[in-house]
Symmetry: C2
Subunit: 241 residues, 2 copies
């Protein structure tokens, strides 16, 4: 091993694997080396590698598939699409496809509050995206999204409109930014006139305000997303344990 070390071996291995994920040695969707190979590379037993990977799997950084291998998690997979979207239709049969409508995509000086949480220097540029999520023809979510401009050069409304699937899939494949985890602050607010028009509801209608801060490797914040959800026919689902 050789590195300085005051933590359990498997935690060091986990950190090494995480680093390889971060640097892109293995790309999203690809298989990482087998447990035996990694054990040989790091000169530890297979059991130690296994425990490291167990934790990475628990954190959704990798996905194990028996008989096939261990794969780098991705937001682009059909099955786990919209991993972070907790909105569920009341009528569960009405699953339906989600349509995305880009309203705006522009590069601007980051406002102070955005700059602070994204850890930008004052004057740095940010990308602002406004969009609607439309379920079965009804606009249900209005999102106001902020990204650091430096990491998302070349992101335009056209690119967004072309892309099929969740934004996080695009961020991952086109900009190499993988969203790992997020924190949400949820409140109840009244729709103002402009949002009411976009969501096709009366002004003053109670909406769910979902302010999300998303992080990539190393707990680096890379997205602020302010969502307003119409919860007349959908609800935000949460599990407590």
């Amino acid at each position: 091993m050789g590195g300085p070390a005051f933590s359990p071996l498997y935690q060091q291995i986990k950190a090494l694997i995480t680093r390889s994920l971060q640097t892109g040695e293995w790309k999203p969707g690809e298989a990482i080396p087998s447990e035996m190979e990694l054990a040989a590379r790091f000169k530890v037993s297979q059991g130690t590698v296994r425990k490291a990977i167990d934790e990475l799997a628990a954190e959704n950084l990798v996905v194990r598939r028996q008989g096939k291998g261990t794969f780098v998690a991705t937001h682009a997979e059909e099955k786990i699409q919209y991993r972070f979207l907790r909105l569920v239709p009341d009528d569960e049969r009405a699953e339906g496809r989600i349509e995305r409508r880009i309203l705006e995509c522009r590069r601007v000086r980051a406002p102070a509050d955005i700059a602070r949480v994204l850890e930008l220097k004052s004057g740095d540029t940010a990308v602002q995206i406004r969009r609607l999520l439309v379920f079965a023809g009804q606009p249900v979510v209005f999102d106001d999204i902020w990204l650091p401009g430096a990491a998302f050069k070349g992101l335009t409304a056209e690119r967004l409109a072309e892309y099929r699937g969740p934004l996080y899939g695009l961020f991952e494949s086109e900009f190499g930014v993988r969203m790992i985890r997020a924190e949400e602050k949820i409140r109840s607010v009244a729709a103002d006139v402009s949002v009411a028009a976009l969501l096709d509801v009366p002004a003053g209608m109670p909406l769910l305000s979902v302010e999300r801060l998303s992080f990539t490797y190393g707990d680096k914040p890379v997205e602020v997303r302010r969502g307003l959800y119409n919860t007349q026919a959908h609800y935000y689902r949460n599990e407590l344990s």
Copy 2:
């Protein structure tokens, strides 16, 4: 082992330990036998017991403490109080104690919708509790709580008023009902006149509606809780991963 078995050994061990938790062989807050003892009892290796306990710890059914033992999780502990309450003050310094005000506690025929989700027979009695949670003098949460009457005989407003600490602590110590996990459906709604008065807000104010269904061992539903949260100075916090 001897028992019928088509699942991994450690899953069977986990089920056996869960059963002992359920029957009350070890009470909340107490230590369960050491890994070595359990391994001897079940005639498996310590590693297998360890893996079973690992999962129980991940599900918050037990808590491991190095050098001391493994303990049955409890809602009554000071440190983890209000484990299921996700409401956080905007001003993090204003942590403060939470005051509970019982408004009502009565036994009634379970309404059809409650009976259905609690899996009661039509005509079975239910306990209904209405209460406020007061943060720093301000009422912030109104809860309308429903419990199956059979499991909560002797639950009165007086007992509730006397008890210090979270309801789930009382349910656990007085009625032997441990809440293991819960599902919440969250929406944004307008305050009606009566709730507005209780929460000291104008009628029509947007409130967070949190409908919780709580489960005990064996995924048995044992509580419906309809909460209305004033999110002017607090927010509902969630972690996505």
